[in-house]
């Protein structure tokens, strides 16, 4: 790792809920970098995202913002100015328009009375432009397709203008072409805005193709972390999933990963 300061860092984080869910987890998110977390169901991936966003507090260890600010010392509104998250199952927002939904990302920046300014409106338009939803401004959210809804959730997160972006199963239940399209968008924005992006996903191949760093987890413990080529090896993946994989290096330090199924 270079001498650049990390944007968000987990330090020996533990969390239990009846049983231990996350055990002694440490890693950092760097600016302009996409980090992926891979692990079987129940390995604690979503819990880690909630810990990183301060929605739940670690039982021991801490999450630190920009090298020196413990997340526990910040109010939710302050956290939401630094960290944006795209949740796995969004709430019920079918009656809103696309624009109304996107501008809600400005919430952490509003004053006491909760009114958006012209500037907030401008930002909402910009992020809808960025996510190619400008032509839907007045459409109802319920009219959007699955892929468009995910882009809208991303737009709302971008409207928060944070330097950290957390994506929970961002491409789940989408056709492969939409998955690729969404991840290209995430990669472009991560580079352009120098975001520290964390992606939790079941799509091993998507992560192998788009991430700069990956973390392999099982049973709440980080088994391996590092560059894609170091971490996504046949041996590691077999340990994690109990399956044989075919892995093939791609240009730019990426990996193509496929399970071999007899």
């Amino acid at each position: 790792m270079s001498g650049e300061p990390s944007m968000l860092e987990a330090r020996h984080v533990c969390f239990s809920y009846n049983r231990p869910i996350v055990r002694d987890v440490s890693f950092s998110l760097m600016p302009g970098t996409i980090t992926g977390i891979i692990g079987p169901n129940g390995s604690g991936k979503t819990t880690i995202l909630r810990l990183l966003d301060g929605i739940i507090a670690p039982l021991s260890g801490e999450v630190v913002l920009r090298g020196n600010t413990p997340l526990s010392s910040l109010k939710r509104k302050e956290i939401a100015r630094h960290i944006a998250m795209v949740p796995q199952n969004g709430g019920s927002y079918f009656y809103q328009t696309v624009f109304q939904f996107a501008i809600q990302g400005r919430s952490p920046h509003l004053s006491l009375m909760g009114f958006e300014s012209m500037r907030d409106e401008e930002i909402a338009r910009e992020v809808l432009e960025m996510t190619q939803l400008s032509h839907y401004l007045d459409a109802r959210v319920s009219e959007l397709s699955g892929g468009e809804k995910q882009r809208l959730l991303l737009a709302r997160a971008l409207a928060q203008q944070t330097e950290i972006l957390l994506l929970d199963e961002f491409t789940a239940n989408l056709d492969i072409n939409y998955q690729v399209e969404l991840m290209r968008l995430v990669r472009r924005i991560t580079r352009e805005k120098r975001l520290a992006t964390l992606v939790v996903s079941h799509e091993i191949n998507i992560l192998g193709t788009f991430c700069d760093r990956v973390i392999l987890m099982s049973q709440g413990v980080i088994r391996h972390q590092g560059s894609v080529q170091e971490v996504m090896t046949k041996e590691h993946l077999k340990q994690l999933f109990g399956l044989d994989f075919t892995v093939r290096p791609l240009p730019g330090g990426r990996m193509e990963v496929l399970p071999t199924i007899q």
Partner: protein, 350 residues
């Protein structure tokens, strides 16, 4: 493109205020003695100018009967409608309302208990005591009922289920507390059974006592503070997780809104008794007119609640004239069908 602007909110509120003035003048005019609108305006003008209109028989009707009742009805309606809008957002349930949730009934139990104790201690039944004490007792009843409803309903990971259980718990508790109320009241050595019976249905005909001053203060303060949470409630009504992600301290907002909505409910119920369904009807009509953003809903529903209750009360005191109905009968006749309609529509959505 529809960023909510302050101008839109102001425009909607001012138009509704205009409507309220018209309805209020109408209500001042109608009754067993007709007070012409011109005369009302002149007398109120004189009064505001500091002149004493004593001697005019119409002035007596206007100032001692009609005007206090118009103002009381407006206050009660504004408070219950605002509380209803707050509960609906908070519980993400269009059927929530202080009456359905049992909060109004709990507040009336608090009021009756206070009156009993005050009676033993030698104060009057409905008046007397420190002017803050009765509204405070009603508020305590309201908060305890809301807490009990919450505990009885239990927690469920599935949102729609827990929201339905909350309503069921509210309805059951309300019917239980109604029985307690009747029991307490009939055990009182009190001649005015008709008055009590009317009060239990929600009634505005009782003459106001000095406790109206703290009640008015609490309603305006509570409604203003609720307004400050309107944007947070917008986000919470989308889902708790989304609200947390967007920087809302969900638990803090929730506790405040519970307390404030119970406070304004308790305050007015201590005066008017539990009037049914105002908190259900008014927010729905306002959402149809102005959209569901709480930042415009809260100010408009406050004024519209006043308008609606005034209309209902005017109807209640004229439809069987010279006899009077409790206003709660009129609101229940409007509200029950709406409740059933919403229940059906909700099932349709799922």
């Amino acid at each position: 493109m529809n960023r909510l602007s302050r101008t839109k909110i102001l425009g909607a509120s001012v138009s509704l205020l205009g409507l309220w003035i018209i309805v209020a003048l109408l209500s001042l005019n109608i009754g067993s003695v007709r007070v012409p609108v011109g005369t009302s305006l002149r007398l109120v003008g004189d009064f505001l100018a500091g002149e004493n209109p004593a001697g005019d028989p119409l002035a007596a009707v206007l100032f001692s009967v009609r005007l206090p009742r118009v103002l009381l009805g407006s206050l009660v309606g504004a408070a219950l409608a605002t509380a209803g809008a707050a509960f609906q957002s908070l519980l993400r349930n269009p059927l929530a309302d202080p009456y359905v949730l049992g909060v109004s009934t709990g507040a009336s139990t608090g009021t009756i208990l206070y009156s009993l104790i005050a009676g033993w201690m030698g104060f009057g039944i409905f008046g007397g005591g420190a002017i803050f004490a009765r509204p405070l007792a009603a508020f305590t009843g309201a908060v305890l009922t809301m807490t009990a409803v919450y505990l009885f309903a239990g927690r469920s990971s599935h949102h729609s289920e827990s929201s339905q259980r909350l309503l069921l718990a509210g309805i059951v508790l309300a019917s239980f507390l109604s029985s307690i109320n009747v029991f307490l009241l009939t055990s009182m050595n009190q001649a005015d059974l008709r008055g009590i019976f009317y009060w239990l249905m929600g009634d505005l005909s009782r003459p106001v006592d000095p406790s109206i001053i703290p009640v008015t203060g609490l309603v305006f303060l509570g409604a203003f503070l609720l307004y400050l949470f309107s944007h947070s409630l917008n986000l919470i009504s989308m889902g708790e997780n989304d609200a947390l992600i967007l920087g809302i301290e969900v638990r803090r907002v929730r506790n405040w809104v519970y307390v404030l909505a119970s406070l304004i409910t308790g305050a007015v119920v201590s005066v008017s008794g539990p009037i049914a369904y105002i908190g259900l009807i008014c927010p729905h009509l306002c959402r149809m007119m102005f959209g569901s953003d709480n930042r415009i809903l809260f100010p408009t529903v406050f004024i519209f609640g006043a308008v609606f209750t005034l209309l209902a009360d005017t109807l209640a005191r004229t439809v069987l004239s010279p006899a009077e109905l409790p206003v709660g009968i009129v609101t229940a006749v409007c509200g029950a069908p709406l409740f059933i309609y919403l229940l059906h529509r909700k099932r349709g959505n799922q």
